[in-house]
């Protein structure tokens, strides 16, 4: 039965798709290597809009570009004053929060999409679905989510650029997304959305890998795979440096 359903869907979609423009997308790099000199990077996302029959529409379309990092569960804690001291009091756990999320659009999101569509595609920081796992009222979870957003924005891990996408001659688009040095490693995805009349008309995705390379990667693997040897090496390094410095300075005196 499912093939029949698929066929019906395909038939239904074909005429509509033929009338819609499509997206071509590319990235300045599909792999970001973190080496010892890594101090952040700028990712260039660019491409073109292909209109059916090559006819430009009367009204320029909007573009939204989302770069999404690996999601992980996390806990957000809020400090409160206890006996004059600030300490963590309430906590809310979120099941899936991206370690990095950047959205660049050709116009403010509210002008491109209505809330329903923005939420479906998770376009915009305030439309991220973080799945709170702690049983709290929506107001509280909203408050903690805002706290999380503010922290990650300041760290450069959550980015929103309302006019970050530049569209040239209604055909070419490009955006520069800043990647900070504290970016988590993992599999990333660039999502490009073509938006018209408040709805997503076309989308394209491209994978990005951010990973440590060379020495940094070896150190990380060493620390996690043979942690005892790593610890011994750290101690040996400390003892060696200390003794060498002691001897070196002792002789000069």
């Amino acid at each position: 039965m499912s093939w029949l359903l698929a066929l019906l869907l395909l038939l239904g979609a074909l005429p509509a798709r033929a009338a819609e423009p499509t997206l071509v997308a590319d990235l300045s790099q599909s792999r970001i290597d973190i080496s010892y000199r890594f101090a952040g990077e700028e990712l260039l996302v660019f491409g073109a809009i292909q209109y059916p029959g090559g006819r430009l529409p009367a009204e320029a379309p909007g573009i939204a570009i989302v770069i999404r990092g690996p999601a992980e569960p996390l806990t957000v804690r809020q400090k409160g004053r206890v006996l004059g001291i600030w300490m963590n009091r309430e906590a809310v756990r979120f099941e899936s929060a991206p370690g990095f999320y950047a959205v660049a659009t050709s116009a403010p999101i509210s002008q491109l999409l209505d809330e329903r569509n923005a939420a479906i595609y998770e376009i915009g920081l305030s439309f991220l679905q973080l799945s709170p796992a702690t049983a709290v009222d929506p107001e509280t979870s909203r408050r903690f989510q805002d706290g999380l957003l503010a922290l990650r924005r300041r760290a450069g891990l959550f980015v929103e650029q309302p006019y970050g996408v530049r569209i040239t001659a209604d055909v070419l688009y490009r955006a520069r997304i800043p990647i900070p040095s504290a970016v988590p490693v993992g599999d990333y995805r660039a999502e490009i959305y073509l938006i018209r009349d408040g709805r997503v008309r076309a989308r394209a995705t491209a994978p990005i890998i951010i990973d440590k390379t060379g020495f940094e990667r070896e150190v990380w693997l060493f620390a996690h795979n043979s942690s005892i040897a790593y610890g011994l090496l750290a101690v040996g390094l400390a003892v060696g440096t200390g003794l060498v410095a002691g001897v070196g300075f002792g002789r000069r005196a």
Partner: protein, 306 residues
């Protein structure tokens, strides 16, 4: 020059970290302490995650203490028997401390406990040292000879069973007392990333009543071993030792320590103790202010990995 730290997963200015190591090393060489009580808060202030700051500071303290310990050992300033008893206690303390550390981390209270522990310990020790050193300086001004500290262990220590002889320290006391002192400092090492010299030295002098000539050497002996074990524990249990960060700190630290040791020879011990007391109190005060003032960030994020 920016360098990416593979474990902390962030880039830092290498020159700033080396300079930090140099300053801490200078002060630690000058005062004969490991300097962890300065490194850990400064690293956290710089933005290094607390767990990684604590673990990597412990590694640096090993390096900062080892040449001092070796010098004292050659000069006969280490009571090895006493040191081993304290190291034994230290191992128990680090093991217990790491359980406590993870429990507090799960509760989300590790940061406030670290800060409170610093305020209480540094505040108390700083005030005691301040009183003692000011008193000594006044006595010298009046022309009296510097008072010799009463060489007598605390009544509590005298009451403990299984007495043993520690000839180097000139003591006949129960090994339980130094064992417990070592254990207490071991807990601090694992939680705060400090060697604990600022607690050990007064405890050995005033609580155990050890001969002054072996106090610093024996405390350094214990610190080298216990911080080394702390590094191993952190590396094994939580992979929080950043070897690149530790190496940067060590480069500055060991050079600074040697320079500090030179500088110390030009100052009288009373003035050195007064300066250390003021430094310790300043750190305690800074942390206390941090706890009491409304923080700039009310929220904090904890990922499963950290």
């Amino acid at each position: 020059m920016d360098i990416y730290l593979p474990i902390a997963e962030m880039s830092v200015n290498a020159a700033v970290i080396v300079a930090l190591g140099l300053v801490v090393g200078f002060l630690s060489g000058m005062f004969g302490v490991g300097g962890g009580f300065l490194t850990t808060p400064l690293l956290i202030f710089y933005g290094i995650p607390p767990a990684i700051a604590v673990a990597s500071a412990a590694t640096q303290v090993t390096g900062a203490s080892v040449s001092g310990a070796a010098n004292h050992y050659r000069a006969g300033g280490v009571d090895v028997k006493m040191g081993l008893v304290m190291v034994g206690g230290g191992l128990i303390g680090t093991a217990a401390g790491s359980v406590l550390f993870r429990r507090l981390q799960a509760l989300g209270q590790i940061d406030v406990v670290i800060a409170l522990a610093y305020v209480l310990l540094l505040g108390t020790v700083g005030l005691l040292m301040l009183r003692e050193s000011v008193g000594a300086i006044r006595q010298i001004r009046r022309g009296a000879p510097p008072p010799r500290p009463a060489r007598r262990h605390h009544p509590l220590v005298a009451g403990l069973p299984f007495r043993m002889r520690f000839p180097r320290s000139g003591l006949y006391i129960s090994p339980l007392a130094p064992f417990l002192v070592g254990a207490g400092v071991g807990v601090l090492t694992i939680i705060m990333g400090v060697g604990g010299g600022f607690i050990l030295v007064p405890a050995m002098l005033y609580l155990l009543g050890m001969a002054a000539g072996v106090v610093v050497g024996t405390s350094l002996f214990q610190i080298v071993f216990v911080t080394a074990v702390a590094t191993l524990l952190h590396a094994f249990q939580s992979q929080t030792v950043d070897i690149v960060l530790a190496a940067l700190l060590l480069v500055g630290g060991v050079v600074g320590a040697q320079l500090g040791a030179r500088a110390a020879q030009r100052l009288s011990p009373e003035r050195l103790r007064l300066a250390l007391a003021l430094l310790v109190l300043a750190v305690a005060l800074r942390l206390l202010v941090g706890l009491a003032l409304t923080p700039s960030e009310l929220y904090s994020i904890e990922t499963a990995l950290a």
